[in-house]
Amino acid sequence: MTISNVPVQTTTLQSGILLDPQWAEVTAITPEAEGISTYWLRFVNPAEQHAFRFEPGQVNMLYLPGFGESAISISSDPQDHEKLGHTIRFVGNVTRAVSRLKVGDVVGLRGPFGTHWPMQEIEGKDVFIACGGIGLPPLRPAIYHIVRNREKYGKVTLLYGARTSSDLMFPHEYDEWRKAQIDVEITVDRGDTNWNGRVGVVPMWFYHFRIDPRKTAVLTCGPEIMIRFVIFEAMARRVPEESIYVSLERNMKCGQGSCGHCQIGPYFICREGPVFRFDDLQSFFNIEEF
């Protein structure tokens, strides 16, 4: 609908508004699994790097000029102010362009966006983290926080699963976490000759753990179908909806609660999410194609 006799103004947003990216350099790339790598970024401007703070569960928008942006969970330790880790699975145009980046390349970065895991609210409780596949990276900052503040939490369990043993993320860290009194239980959907551990899906292992519904917080992230069954199992053990926290993913574009793409019901995932308390989400979750 162009208007012919009203002059079309090419207008530009003034800088300083959140839609402008800041610039960051790739300092290292860690391959994690097939098609997944962690990109370590450091702001080009040291002042920006030292000023940047994020909470576990928050998201950054990575910008590759000419290709576009992609919302990526920050997967590194929030107390590490030297660099930021972004674990990326190469699936779309932008992320595939990311896979061609080399150390030293510069990308745009803006954030952090969204809500975070409620590390303060769940102090004093038992923490049951149930996640799978690429759902572990957004929870890793939360695990680091727990390790650093172990005495603030009760019994802590990490139940993590992936498709096969070669898809498991961060296997070299499990023992470190066990040393910090976190019960790390791993499972895979399909066994193979290298694997002597559990074979079976994440949700079904719930019954192996004694969960006190009165004082357990459940944190979950992963494919939505897995989340659905984890919640089902948690509620079967009478964990109340207010004690279950979920991280969801939707097409995120502006990160500002303005463009509308990331909406699920009344919530903008970039603003009221990605971490939700399940009782807030319940009436909009699990509705076909909503």
Binding site: M1, T2, I3, S4, N5, V6, P7, Q9, T10, T11, T12, L13, Q14, S15, I17, L18, L19, D20, W23, V44, P65, G66, F67, G68, E69, R89, V91, G92, T95, G104, D105, V106, G108, E249, R250, N251, K253, C254, Q256, G257, S258, C259, G260, H261, Q263, G265, P266, F268, R271, S283, F284, I287, E288, E289, F290
Partner: protein, 375 residues
């Protein structure tokens, strides 16, 4: 009796219709782009108007679900046409806007700043529903946590001349949405058109000063009664209704009702409704790269939740079927919008009904959903 003093803000005056040209030229002298309804290609558009005669004098619109006709009627009023597909949102929230442009600079990129935005609009003929829509978009684009600089700059410079609707179209239901037909606030000048006069309500200091030296009379009791009567008639003429008493809950409690599939069978997902809707605000980001890879720009463009790509993310599409996209639109507009922004997203302008090629009428769909649910 010519009156040499300026009318007070809040007062109502009358002017002879040709005097309006004086107001228009005053606005143009002050640097405003005067935009109003015009007839073009047998339809109504919002474009610049120079003089009163540019307006669709004597025209009436006939609007039904999926039907719009503009025809020459037997009256000679200027402001009788109920708006067509165009709305004012294209000026405050332009369909395309550059967000930034970058040029490669060695290993990194530098921002090339564009021209600052200087658009200054005078909107002539804003209906009550349209003003309500603008105010809804004010709450979306200018918020504590995020303000769109384009919207903010342009909105601050808008001079609003609104108009009371005295002859609503068949698709109008502003009475149900409590947004019209009378314009009550938010204007600089408000016009109620009588056959021989314009009745002007002064809404701002800016409007007041604009009228310096313009011949006017204070509105007489007779005129005011006439205005009252016309508005009452307009209200009564409005047959289309939308019962909002049980909204948004009616939709939020029945998101999985099979009736949505029924609507989905008729909807073409053509995005007309979102294009013509004055409150729809979704947008997309388009990144372009020059062929030599040395410069790129990012543009903001209008988007629609009916676009199949809207809900696409790596991993698939969360709303691949049309029914779920229609449900998203309606359960947002008359449902979750309330929780997000405190009002409904609909002002009863009826455009989505007029411009839907499948003749889907949301007032009917909600009434039917209500009936289906209660069974």
């Amino acid at each position: 009796m010519l009156n040499e003093t300026l009318p007070e803000v809040g007062s109502t005056i009358t002017i002879q219709k040709p005097v309006f040209d004086l107001i228009l030229s005053r606005l143009k002298e002050a640097g405003y782009l005067t935009i109003g309804p015009r007839v073009k290609n047998e339809t109504l558009v919002y474009e610049t108007i120079e003089i009163l005669e540019d307006l669709p004098r004597g025209y009436t619109t006939e609007q039904k679900p999926g039907r719009f006709r503009l025809f020459q009627d037997r009256h000679s009023r200027y402001f009788d046409t109920i708006p067509g597909a165009h709305s004012w949102k294209q000026f405050l929230f332009p369909p395309r806007a550059e967000l930034f442009a970058l040029r490669k600079n060695g290993h990194g990129w530098e921002t090339t700043t564009g021209q600052p935005d200087t658009a200054k609009y005078a909107f002539i003929g804003v209906r009550a529903c349209e003003l309500a829509s603008i105010q809804i978009q004010d709450g979306i684009f200018m918020r504590e946590d995020f303000t769109d600089p384009i919207y903010h700059a342009r909105r601050g410079r808008v001079f609003t001349i609104s108009v009371d609707c005295t002859h609503p179209a068949e698709t109008c239901f502003c009475v149900s949405m409590n947004t019209g037909p009378q314009v009550k606030q938010g204007f600089d000048l408000n016009i109620t058109e009588l056959d021989n006069l314009f009745v002007l309500a002064i809404g701002s200091e800016l409007a007041r000063r604009l009228l310096a030296g313009i011949p006017f009379e204070n509105a007489s009791g007779y005129v005011l009664t006439n205005v009252e009567q016309k508005l009452v008639n307009a209200k009564q003429q409005m047959r289309r209704k939308l019962d909002t008493a049980d909204l948004p809950q009616l939709m939020l409690d029945n998101l999985d009702h099979p009736y949505w599939n029924e609507i989905g069978k008729r909807c073409l997902s053509c995005t007309n409704c979102t294009l013509v809707c004055p409150t729809c605000f979704c947008w997309d980001v388009v990144d372009e790269m020059s062929l030599d890879g040395k410069s790129t720009r990012r543009e903001r463009v209008w988007d629609s939740c009916f676009n199949p790509g809207y809900s696409y993310q790596a991993g698939g599409n969360t709303r691949p079927t049309i029914y779920s996209r229609y449900r998203q639109w309606l359960s947002h507009k008359l449902g979750t919008w309330k929780q997000q922004f405190g009002t409904f997203g609909c002002t009863g302008c009826g455009r989505c009904i007029t411009w839907c090629p499948a003749e889907i009428d949301l007032t009917e769909e909600i009434a039917t959903l209500r009936k289906e649910v209660s069974q």
